[in-house]
């Protein structure tokens, strides 16, 4: 064994540069895997931590019943407290509000899941005596508020940002206007001070209930049990059951982290997208490893033949190659860890389009690191296995041959298999239907199969594509360009893998960009039509509906339509069995004014918009979003049961409409139904249409001057809003761009590796060319032309498969999320892809070209 390690290590040290490049490939692959794993885990843990902080040391929570849509009643508290095993039962109520002085500049912060954390000021109504027993309050200064008084404690960091001090007053918006709270304490930056990204305050329950008209209502009762119970799952489960029995349908008893899990499902699709990228990164990395070891083996056929002749067994040869792969992979993977951690930090920051990441959560753990290491080393060993087996099959007779065999022509079977794999991948995606939980794994494997198939067809395509690249190379580099381009045919296997790795990374960049463009286009169209109008008027607290009349009287306002947003729950029995989430957004609209400003697009093929609108206006009806329809398998004409404050009520689905507002279910109803069944009125947003002859800015300025101070409203033009949403989409996709670029980097390493190898192998030939008068510059141009050929082929393949995979991705998003996207061809990503392919290939070739130019003629031609 010692001898094998010795030989393997010597080989590596002799080919340091190549080993280094390969290790870098592994390093990049591992860092992507690690970064994505950490990012995914961090987003989940961030969400969990929000709930954990809110739940603190509570072992159980009582939350509003899923059977009844209403807040918890405070009257339930004594019942809960009386259950044996309950040590502390702390009631709390949460409301969203804003400091009054911020209302004017306030803009709602969004992410792809809806409203971003920290967008509102979260006010907790608590029992100042009980709450510190279930949640962690660390007072840096001052004291807790006193029950019944308008007092509040704030995170010190928040107070510092807002220049607030102990004893100052904090004025918060309430449905009546404002309420003033005296700051009695500042919290250190831990525990509850981290809830809602630190945009939080804690005031006595009673005063919060009073100022927000929520007398007698609670959101949650946090329960702390004795240690003996909380440390024994069985006992805790028993307590949970008996509590549930006691409170019956008045509330649900849950474990504190259960809601974190539900929310995390919303992230699932995004995370799957990221995971797919880590698979691709590893896939491209494996090409690099395979190529390197393939080269190493081909180059050493004679040497291995000699080793076999003097008595090295096949197993020993195999082990030597695998030891080399292991060493490269081990160090590459190890070095990939710090880079992965760095990358994860960047990626997490970039995920704020999807979830507001918590600064304190960074889910790096030993198992995740070990997993990334194992993936790096495992994939490298697997990739080196075929070359290693090939090495072990080398006959000892090779040692006696004068010239070693060179890369042979590809067998017909290879490219035929390639076409079959592509067809198979397509059939799996388009020709078969899969259950939802199978879609991601099956889809990923199908895409990889297509990539693998495409790779195999490169062997055939080289001879045709080379004709194209030869023309380009001749144009760019003259006759030595033609020579260089033709060289790619000489080492078909090596060229294939180089082209393939460029292709895969380009495909990803092109398809992601195409999908992003389609997504933005559809979303932009949707905002234009579904949201409509020119100006939005919003407030952090619900506005009175009559305010709409006042807005209408402002000169230049043609139409005003109100929107009210409620979070409602759907009765579990009207959803499929496996549904974990039953919370929906219910948008109440006024059909008449709404249609003067905006239009909803019905996605049912046979939908009659007029009939659908008429049905909604008749009452007792809702529109559901296409995402909701897809996810819960609902269609027009079905009924859906919503938990209203007046009990369960079944609504007719009057239409399925296009919607992009996040992954939570969305429904629309009329103001009439809002009043009848939910007893609600008011507006969270007014959408205004500006009359001809007036500018949006003019009208906005007029509204601001009239109402901003008094009503604490904020204004935003539709254009700004649209832009902010599109920016959000852009930043959600930017993450994938970064990953795509890493893929390209690995592809570039492949080009460097291949060209270096070609140069080394053709020393003699290059020497001969130099001796008959080729200048150093010409030699360089020849090598650059060879890379140009790689770039051309990778580019053409990338364009073709980018086009195909983009459509697969659109399909995947439609199937997995329920969107109704359509692929729209856009030449931009293709152009960008092509430019990247050429640039990357040319830049990667500079080093090898210089090396070739330095070849010493005498040395090269006397070389045996």
């Amino acid at each position: 064994m010692h001898a094998l390690w010795f030989i393997a290590l010597r080989n590596l040290s002799q080919r340091k540069f190549r080993a280094f490049l390969t290790a870098i490939g592994v390093l990049l692959g591992v860092s992507v895997v690690l970064a994505i794993e950490v990012t995914n885990q961090t987003t989940i843990d961030s969400l969990r931590s929000v709930f954990d902080r809110a739940a603190g040391q509570a072992s159980l929570l009582v939350i509003p019943s899923s059977q009844k849509d209403e807040n918890l009643k405070q009257g339930l508290l004594p019942t809960v407290q009386s259950v044996k095993g309950v040590a502390v039962a702390a009631p709390s109520l949460r409301v969203n509000t804003l400091p009054a002085d911020e209302a004017g500049d306030w803009q709602i912060a969004l992410n792809l899941n809806g409203v971003a954390v920290g967008s509102f000021f979260l006010l907790y109504g608590i029992d100042p005596a009980l709450d510190p027993q279930v949640r962690v309050y660390v007072l840096a200064e001052g004291r807790m508020p006193q029950a019944g008084r308008y007092e509040i404690v704030l995170p010190r960091k928040y107070a510092e940002e807002k220049k607030l001090r102990l004893g100052n007053g904090l004025i918060l918006l309430t449905p009546q206007g404002t309420a003033r709270f005296k700051i009695t304490g500042l919290l250190a930056n831990e525990g509850v001070a981290l809830i809602n990204d630190g945009v939080v305050g804690f005031a006595p329950l009673k005063v919060v209930q009073e100022s927000f008209h929520l007398e007698g209502q609670l959101d949650e009762i946090a329960i702390r049990t004795s240690e003996t119970i909380s440390s024994k799952p069985a006992l805790l489960e028993e307590l949970k059951r008996s509590l549930q029995q006691r409170i019956g349908k008045n509330g649900d008893v849950v474990y504190p982290d259960s809601r974190g899990v539900v929310v995390s499902q919303m992230l699932a699709t995004y995370q799957l997208g990221l995971s797919f990228f880590s698979i691709i990164a590893i896939f491209v990395g494996s090409f690099l490893v395979y190529n390197t070891f393939s080269m190493t083996v081909s180059e050493r056929i004679r040497e291995i033949g000699m080793l076999r002749a003097i008595g090295m067994s096949r197993k020993q040869v195999l082990s030597t190659v695998l030891i080399e792969a292991f060493v490269v992979a081990f160090f590459g993977s190890l070095a990939g860890i710090p880079l992965g951690i760095l990358l994860a930090r960047g990626l997490i920051r970039m995920t704020d389009a999807v979830i507001t990441p918590s600064e304190e959560v960074f889910s790096l753990s030993v198992p995740i690191i070990l997993e990334a290491l194992a993936v790096g080393i495992g994939v490298a060993l697997l990739s080196a296995l075929q070359p290693a087996i090939r090495a072990s099959r080398i006959s000892p007779l090779e040692a006696l041959r004068v010239r070693a065999k060179s890369d042979t022509k590809p067998a017909k079977a290879i490219w035929i298999t390639g076409f079959c794999l592509i067809a198979f991948g397509y059939f799996v995606i388009y020709g078969m239907s899969w259950p939802e939980h199978w879609m991601f794994p099956v889809g990923s494997i199908a895409v990889l199969t297509i990539f693998l198939g495409a790779t195999l067809t490169v062997t055939l395509a080289i001879q045709y594509l080379e004709l194209i690249s030869r023309r380009l190379a001749a144009k760019a580099y003259g006759s030595e360009g033609r020579l260089g381009s033709a060289n790619v045919r000489r080492t078909v296997g090596r060229t294939t893998l180089t082209v393939a790795s460029l292709m895969v990374s380009l495909t990803m960049i092109i398809s992601i960009n195409s999908v992003a463009t389609s997504f933005k286009k559809d979303m932009g169209d949707w905002i234009d039509s579904a949201l409509g109008g020119d100006l939005y008027v919003r407030s952090a607290v619900t506005m009175r509906q009559s305010f709409g009349n006042q807005l209408r009287s402002v000169p230049g306002v043609a139409v005003v339509t109100p929107t009210r947003v409620l979070e409602v729950r759907v009765a579990p029995e009207s959803l499929p069995k496996d549904t974990l989430q039953n919370e929906f957004y219910l948008y109440a609209i006024d059909p008449d004014t709404f249609r003067q400003i905006a239009d909803l697009q019905f996605t049912d093929a046979q939908a009659d918009p007029e009939a659908s609108w008429a049905r909604l206006k008749r009452g007792n009806a809702v529109f559901i979003s296409n995402v909701t329809a897809e996810r819960y398998r609902l269609k027009t004409g079905d009924r859906i049961t919503i938990l209203t404050p007046r009990g369960k009520h079944s609504f007719t689905i009057a239409g399925v409409v296009l919607d992009f507002t996040g992954q939570r279910g969305v429904m629309y109803t009329s103001y009439q139904d809002l009043q009848t069944y939910f007893g609600e009125s008011g507006a969270d947003r007014f959408t205004l249409k500006v009359a001809p002859g007036y500018s949006v800015d003019q009208v906005a300025a007029e509204i601001e001057s009239r109402y901003q101070k008094r009503r604490h409203i904020s204004l935003q033009s539709t254009r700004e809003f649209k832009q902010s949403v599109l920016n959000l989409v852009e930043s959600a996709f930017r993450l994938f761009d970064v990953l795509g670029l890493i893929g390209i980097l690995i592809g570039a390493l492949g080009v460097v590796n291949t060209l270096t190898m070609n140069v080394i192998e053709r020393q003699r030939e290059i020497g001969a060319l130099r001796s008959i008068g080729m200048t150093r510059l010409q030699v360089m141009r020849m090598i650059l032309a060879e890379a140009l050929a790689h770039g051309t082929m990778g580019g053409i393949y990338g364009l073709l498969f980018g086009f195909l995979i983009a459509q697969v991705m659109v399909l995947a998003m439609n199937l997995m999320i329920g969107y109704n996207l359509s692929y729209k061809f856009n030449w931009q990503p293709f152009l960008i892809g092509l430019v990247i392919a050429f640039l990357v290939a040319q830049m990667a070739a500079i080093g090898p070209a210089q090396r070739a130019a330095r070849v010493n003629i005498i040395e090269a031609i006397k070389h045996e």
Partner: protein, 253 residues
């Protein structure tokens, strides 16, 4: 065949035939070759290119398998052995010297010589002294840590000879060992080969087309069209060069 002869025999072939199939045509490389080598003997196999001499060497070393017939090394039939067994046999009982030296470019002289022992799993302490001694014997003192690219062709071949003898093989097979050297280095190599062969009482079978090289042997076997035509047994450890030349002239006539 007397018992004594059998005891002295290291290598024997019986009806050795090798036919290569090239497309539709069968090419007979060796036809019914019967030939034996005694312990400590230095045999040269001569023939023009295509005479089958390289094929014979491959079969003797277990690098290739015969179409018919058998090779016996120390009475052991090679065709009866598995791939692993043959590999082990090569490692322990056979030494190879190639025309192009075939040294590992990544290893220095000492390491190249020790290679067969390393592969065999021996610890450096077990072979250090032996390797140094061998390098002295092939007169490479002071070149121990040189890599192949730092050595001349003759020096590289001397490393290869040392490597061939390091595991004290029963037999050393040399394929045109001087084919890639100038005449002075070639002469030195042959003298060295002869000396080491005597020193270790090792059998050497050398394939060559160079009559000068062949004249260092105890016996020269002539091959033509895959068959043994004749052999010349020398005296005092040499076969007269003129005699070889005469025979070759007769062959070509």
């Amino acid at each position: 065949m007397s018992v004594e002869t059998l005891k002295n025999e290291v290598l024997r072939t019986e009806h050795l035939t090798k036919i290569y199939r090239m497309g539709e045509v069968d090419v007979v490389a060796l036809r019914d070759v019967n030939f034996a080598v005694r312990r400590g003997e230095f045999v040269a196999i001569m023939g023009a290119s295509g005479s089958g001499k390289s094929t014979l060497l491959h079969l003797l070393g277990g690098l290739d398998t015969p179409t018919e017939g058998e090779v016996y090394l120390n009475g052991q039939a090679l065709s009866k052995l598995s791939d692993d067994q043959i590999t082990l046999l090569r490692r322990q009982k056979i030494g190879f010297i190639f025309q192009f030296y075939n040294l590992l470019p990544t290893l220095n002289a000492v390491e190249n010589v020790a290679l067969p022992l390393m592969i065999d799993g021996q610890h450096p302490s077990q072979y250090q002294a032996k390797v140094t001694e061998l390098l002295h014997l092939v007169r490479l003192e002071g070149r121990e840590t040189h890599r192949p690219d730092q050595l001349s062709g003759g020096q590289q071949q001397r490393v290869a000879i040392a490597r061939a003898f390091v595991n004290q093989p029963e037999i050393v097979l040399a394929d045109e060992p001087t084919g890639n050297l100038d005449s002075r280095s070639g002469k030195a190599i042959l003298e060295l080969l002869k000396k080491v062969c005597k020193e270790f009482r090792t059998t050497v079978v050398m394939v060559t087309h160079d009559p000068k090289a062949a004249s260092y042997a105890d016996r020269v076997v002539f091959l033509k069209d895959g068959q043994i035509l004749n052999e010349i047994v020398g005296q005092n450890g040499r076969v007269p060069f003129e005699q070889i030349m005469d025979f070759m002239a007769a062959l070509e006539a």
